[in-house]
């Protein structure tokens, strides 16, 4: 941890209520993901499922710096982003459960969340796929003369795919208000940054495009917030895109089913100790007298309750109906496309009821 005095000085400029809010947000992300993992093991959740454990400060710091005008596009490790963007945890958990009440009506699941209202523009699950889309959203903002920036969230290993580079070029060439938000958790699945990138200092990957980059301690919520604020403003006002490399430690395997055997167990234990953004931030606040034991206890209880309510809601929610199989297939209806009757018939055949 950093120099105590400096921390103290930094904290002095902050509003205590805000700091407490960051803390409880981070704890919400933490508990949400832990319970998600449990629910996966109970087979309440299916498919591929990636958690944000260890990235709580990165996410909460980012969201603290964004305005409601801003948009965010993510990869697939996204529960925390949509949560911290203010979307009801119940609707997120319901999505994970594949329920009609989920943020994408149960169509998307863990990797494909969406909330138009929150300007949370989706998880895309194809490595790099979200990046050109985000640049396109920034293009639209500029075209329409609207305020705001777009965040293209991605992992470290995503910076090796072509779409990322093409996006950097377009963003800079056309001066678009977009931030390339690279969450460096050290690994893409089992591949370390050094094994994937010839330039392992990821913030320097704007080097071929005249794009400015910075490395930020992604476990420090204030550092993240401040960096995003600063670069967000340049992006919005000067059309100057930037790369923000956020360092953090991945607490578990790549996805809930990854046993993480390729990392040294001891090193992982130590990493979780050293780089736990939630506990560390709680400790700092506590040490500086900004929260007391009671606050920490109460916050934990409130968060636990909120997550439990989300689970209960998800559990109690209905699945989307089979008659809606083809609903939203096309936004503009056209002839010769299947309808609810077709859906019901097809499902009956599939289930042996016909």
């Amino acid at each position: 941890m950093a120099d105590e005095k400096a921390v103290q000085a930094a904290l002095d400029h902050e509003d205590v209520g805000t700091l407490r809010h960051y803390y409880s947000q981070m704890l919400l992300l933490r508990r949400f993901e832990e319970r998600t993992s449990e629910m996966y093991v109970k087979a309440k959740i299916g498919g591929y499922c990636h958690l944000n454990l260890g990235e709580e400060a990165t996410i909460v710091g980012l969201m603290a710096a964004l305005t409601p005008d801003d948009y965010i596009f993510t990869n697939y490790r996204e529960h925390g982003y949509i949560l911290a963007r203010g979307v009801d945890p119940a609707a997120i958990m319901a999505e994970l459960f594949g329920k009609k009440t989920g943020v994408a009506g149960g169509r998307g699941g863990s990797m494909h969340m969406f909330s138009e209202k929150a300007h949370f523009m989706g998880g895309y699950a194809i490595v790099g796929g979200q990046v050109p889309l985000a640049v396109g959203a920034a293009y639209a903002l500029k075209y329409q003369g609207k305020p705001g920036v777009v965040v293209a969230q991605m992992g470290d290993a995503t910076t090796n795919i072509g779409a990322f580079y093409e996006s950097l070029n377009l963003a800079k060439l056309w001066k678009l208000p977009v931030l390339f938000f690279v969450v460096n958790n050290g690994y893409g699945m089992g591949t370390s940054v050094e094994n994937g990138s010839s330039e392992p200092d990821l913030y320097k990957k704007g080097g071929s495009f005249r794009i400015h980059g910075e490395r930020i301690d992604g476990t420090d919520v204030l550092a993240v917030r401040d960096a995003v604020r600063r670069l967000r403003q340049r992006a919005e006002q000067e059309g100057e895109p930037a790369i923000l490399e956020m360092t953090s430690f991945r607490f578990r395997g790549h996805s809930v089913i990854d046993a993480d055997r390729y990392r040294d167990a001891d090193a992982v234990r130590r990493g979780r100790e050293a780089f736990d953004p939630v506990r560390n931030f709680g400790a700092i606040l506590h040490d500086n007298g900004m929260v007391d034991d009671a606050f920490l206890r109460e916050t934990a209880a409130l968060v636990d309750q909120e997550v439990q309510e989300a689970i209960d809601f998800a559990n109690g929610s209905p699945e989307p109906e089979v008659k809606d199989m083809y609903t939203f297939m096309y936004a503009t209806p056209v002839p010769n496309t299947p309808d609810a009757q077709d859906a019901i018939r097809a499902v009956k055949i599939n289930r042996g009821d016909m």
Binding site: G106, G108, L133, E166, S167, N169, L170
Partner: protein
Amino acid sequence: MPIITYRQALNDTLGEELARDENVLLMGEEIGLFQGSYRITEGLLEEFGPRRVVDTPIAEEGFVGLAIGAAMLGLRPVVEIMTINFILVAIDQVVNHASKIHYMFGGQVRVPLVIRTPSGGTGQLGATHSQSFENWFAYCPGLKVVAPATPYDAKGLLRAAIRDDDPVIFIESLSLYDTKGEVPADDDYVVPIGLAEVKRQGSDVTVISYSRMTTVAMQVAQRLEQEGISVEVVDLRSLRPLDRPTIIESVKRTNRAVVIAEDWYSYGITAEIAATIQEEAFDYLDAPVQRVAGLEVPLPYAKDLSAASKPSANSLIHAIRKVLQGKR
């Protein structure tokens, strides 16, 4: 009605839609300063300026993805891919993203995007510059795929595509650009996506085709009329959604069918049409549906080989005679 080229029909429509809706914009390589590789966008940069007519770097994946993202925020990009062969570097964006966004996110957002691109190609364009991939897109739920054969349909379908709120793949053909046809002036008609058209009535055999092959079918039909063979031509126009009822109705009347497409034979467009017909009009068929398509080779450059590998009027006539065998 004025007679104009297919190229002119496209160019007019793009200009009219740019003028009609501020959110419409064109993007693509060489569509501006260069005036378009095949001059479809000629003059539009001058008329509408670089905000509406955007020359892109060679980065199809990037700018197609960009167009999708921009469409999600309400723009209506019309992207030109120079030829369909180059869309392979951008296909992830089209198929893994554009086609799924509306459905997968529960209807919260729309992708009003058009991708225009010429497919196929005659002459000695070589293996990498002469392919047809419309079957790939037609396979993908969430996309709409249209392929007009005439200037009239080109205009009507392009209008429909631009005004449609879903991603539309708009298939053109280099060999059609200079063809001519009647197109009403001052008529804001659209040709609905998802409907085929009987372009010519006949009673002996139905030929099903789209894009350039429809013009071949029409020529063949005229030629065979002199021999007393009456050919009905169904122009698909839309490959997805596919207008099965129009195809089936026609075949139920003629009892014989030939499908022709410029793509490779196996797993091409003709497979779906033939499979559909045998499925839905089995008892009406007096002969197996014949398929006419390209030879299954990477298009060789040499003149004769090149010409011989693409389906011709002769191949169509051969197939028609085959289905008519024993008829009279």
